[in-house]
C-alpha cells in the first residue's frame, strides 16, 4: 500500500470513488437482487435443509451466504468495467501518460471497489441477520475476516481478467461464467454434499 500513500495513488482512488458514486446503479443491483432472491428462495432452502436433517434450519443458513457469494462473483464484471471503460472514454492513455506509476493506477482503481464489495457483503449479511435471522455457526469476526480475504481474492481475479482479455465482453463473459461455476461448486446454490449426491446417483 506504499503507492496509495502517494498523492497520485490517492488521487486515482478518490476519482474512482467519484466514478462509482456517480453511477451507482450496478452496485445497487448487486445488493438489491440477492436480497430479493434471499426472500424468494428462503422457504425452498428451509425445506431442503429440513430434508437434509437440519430440523431447526430456516433456510437463511443457505441463502444468505449463498446469494452473497454468488453476487460477489458476479461483481467481478464491475472491476472489468472500471478498467475497460477508461478505453471507451479515451482516458486510459491520459492515465498512462501521467507521472503516476502502474501500481498507483491499479491500486487506485481497485481499492475503492474493494471497499465497495466489502460494503456489499456487510449489507447482505447484515440484512440477512436482521430480516432473515441468519446467524453464522462460528463468530461474526471470523466471518468478517474470511469475507475480507474472499473479496480481495475476487478483486485480484477481476484484475487478472482485465490483464488477460482484450475486450470487456470477453472479460465479462469469462468472469460471469467462471464466477457462476465457482459459486456453484462452492455451494452457493445448493449445499455441496447435495450436489455431489445428485451426481453420484
Amino acid at each position: 500500500m506504499r503507492s496509495l500513500r502517494s498523492n497520485r495513488g490517492l488521487a486515482v482512488a478518490r476519482a474512482n470513488s467519484w466514478l462509482l458514486l456517480a453511477d451507482p446503479a450496478p452496485i445497487v443491483v448487486t445488493v438489491a437482487m440477492p436480497l430479493l432472491l434471499m426472500a424468494f428462495l428462503m422457504p425452498a432452502a428451509g425445506a431442503q435443509l429440513h430434508q437434509e436433517g437440519y430440523a431447526g434450519a430456516s433456510g437463511a443458513e443457505q441463502v444468505v451466504p449463498g446469494m452473497a457469494v454468488l453476487f460477489a462473483f458476479l461483481s467481478t464484471s464491475l472491476i472489468c468495467t472500471l478498467f475497460f471503460r477508461e478505453h471507451a472514454w479515451g482516458t486510459w492513455d491520459r492515465l498512462r501518460a501521467s507521472s503516476a506509476s502502474s501500481l498507483d493506477l491499479v491500486l487506485g482503481k481497485v481499492v475503492p471497489l474493494y471497499v465497495c464489495l466489502l460494503a456489499q457483503m456487510a449489507v447482505l449479511f447484515g440484512v440477512g441477520a436482521v430480516a432473515f435471522g441468519y446467524r453464522p455457526n462460528g463468530s461474526w469476526l471470523a466471518l468478517a475476516a474470511i469475507l475480507a480475504v474472499f473479496v480481495a481474492a475476487l478483486v485480484l481475479f477481476g484484475v487478472m481478467l482485465v490483464a488477460v482479455f482484450a475486450t470487456l465482453d470477453e472479460a465479462m463473459v469469462t468472469g460471469n461464467l467462471g464466477g457462476m461455476v465457482m459459486a456453484g461448486l462452492g455451494g452457493a446454490l445448493l449445499p455441496p454434499r447435495r450436489s455431489l449426491d445428485g451426481r453420484s446417483r
Binding site: 498523492n7 497520485r8 490517492l10 488521487a11 486515482v12 478518490r14 476519482a15 467519484w18 466514478l19 456517480a22 453511477d23 472514454w89 479515451g90 482516458t91 486510459w92 492513455d93 491520459r94 492515465l95 498512462r96 501518460a97 501521467s98 507521472s99 503516476a100 506509476s101
Partner: protein, 320 residues
C-alpha cells in the same frame, strides 16, 4: 529554426518504429524549445501520432530515444512524464464526473500539491472558458466545450512540454480560435508545444515552426516563413479571349496559361510573358491575370507530393 538561449525541452533523436514490416518512423530527429510551437505536419499514416505516443511513453520505439526536459522517456519515465502534458487525438474526459472533478483529478494525478489544486483548477478553467461549466458533468458538454476540457486536462498541472495531437478536430470556429489563443498563451509562458494538425491555416495563425513528416522521415523543418519562401510556389494564370497561345514554359489549359514559380522569379517570368505576347500584337487578346500567393499548403504539397492526401484546403489551393 535556431532559437538562441532557449533550452530544448523535447528532444527526439533517431526515432524508429516499425509495425510488422511497415516502417512508420525511420530516424526521426526533432527538438522543441521552450516557448516554441512546432507544428508537426504530414499525411494520414505519416507517423505523427506514433511519434506523439512514443514521446508520451505510451509506445516503445524500436530505435532512438525521446527526452522530455532532459529525462529519457523510456529509462526515466516518471521524471519525463512529470514535465509532460498530453492531449491525445481522441477526446479523453470522464463523462460522469463534473468539469471541476475532471480538472481536480488530473491536477492531483500529475503531482500538483493539494493546496494549489483549487487555484490551478480556477485558473485553467478561466483560461479555457470553462468557469461557468465547472459544476456540469463532462458528458453534458457540447463537442467544442468537451474539446476545451480535453485540452485543459493536459495543461492543468502547468507542464513544460505539451503534446497536442490534432487538438481542434471537431471544434467549431469559435472553439478553434479559443484553443489557438490558449496555445499562443502557453507558448508565451514558456511551454514547448508539439502540435500535430491537418488544418494548415491554424499553423499560419499560430505562426508556428513547421516540421513535415512524410514516409517516416522529417522532410522539412523550419520557420513558417522560411518554409513558405523556400518551397511554396506562386501560381500565375493568364486568361485570354479564345484559346490561349503556346508560350515557352507555360502550360496551356483551354483559355488559360498557367505557370508555377518559386521564390522571386514571379516578376521577371510574368514580365517576359507579357513582352512576348505584346510582340505578337493583335494575334492574342489577354483578358486577365491572376496571381495565387504561396501558402503553407502549396509548400506542404510540394514537399510531400501527395495531392490525394492533401490537408484541408490543399487541393483547392492548387486548383484555384
Amino acid at each position: 529554426m535556431a532559437m538562441v538561449g532557449r533550452a530544448a525541452m523535447l528532444e527526439i533523436d533517431g526515432l524508429c518504429k516499425r509495425y510488422g514490416t511497415h516502417e512508420v518512423l525511420c530516424g526521426v530527429d526533432l527538438a522543441v524549445l521552450s516557448g516554441q510551437v512546432l507544428a508537426l505536419l504530414g499525411p494520414n499514416g505519416a507517423g505523427k501520432s506514433t511519434l506523439v505516443s512514443i514521446a508520451a511513453g505510451l509506445c516503445l520505439p524500436d530505435g532512438g530515444q525521446a527526452r522530455v526536459a532532459g529525462f529519457d522517456v523510456r529509462r526515466e519515465r516518471r521524471g519525463a512524464l512529470a514535465h509532460l502534458g498530453l492531449a491525445p487525438q481522441d477526446t479523453g474526459v470522464y463523462p460522469t464526473l463534473t468539469v471541476k472533478q475532471n480538472l481536480d483529478f488530473f491536477a492531483r494525478l500529475n503531482g500538483v500539491p493539494s493546496r494549489q489544486v483549487p487555484g490551478r483548477v480556477r485558473e485553467v478553467a478561466e483560461t479555457l472558458g470553462l468557469t461557468s461549466l465547472l459544476g456540469q458533468r463532462a458528458g453534458q458538454l457540447s463537442g467544442g466545450q468537451r474539446r476545451r476540457l480535453h485540452t485543459a486536462l493536459a495543461v492543468v498541472h502547468g507542464p513544460e512540454v505539451l503534446l497536442l495531437d490534432e487538438p481542434t478536430v471537431g471544434a467549431d470556429v469559435a472553439a478553434r480560435a479559443g484553443l489557438l489563443d490558449v496555445v499562443r498563451k502557453l507558448a508565451a509562458g514558456g511551454a514547448a508545444i508539439l502540435y500535430t494538425t491537418h488544418y494548415l491555416p491554424e499553423v499560419e495563425q499560430l505562426g508556428a515552426d513547421v516540421a513535415i513528416l512524410h514516409e517516416g522521415r522529417i522532410r522539412l523543418a523550419g520557420h513558417l516563413q522560411e518554409v513558405v519562401a523556400s518551397y511554396a510556389q506562386t501560381r500565375a494564370t493568364l486568361t485570354f479571349v479564345g484559346d490561349a497561345p503556346v508560350l515557352s514554359g507555360w502550360q496551356v489549359a483551354g483559355e488559360r496559361l498557367v505557370r508555377d514559380v518559386v521564390g522571386d522569379e514571379l516578376g521577371p517570368v510574368v514580365a517576359d510573358a507579357i513582352a512576348v505576347l505584346a510582340a505578337r500584337g493583335g494575334e492574342v487578346q489577354l483578358a486577365g491575370m491572376e496571381i495565387a500567393r504561396p501558402s503553407l499548403e502549396t509548400a506542404y504539397l510540394a514537399v510531400t507530393g501527395d495531392h490525394r492526401n492533401a490537408p484541408e484546403g490543399g487541393a483547392d489551393a492548387l486548383a484555384a
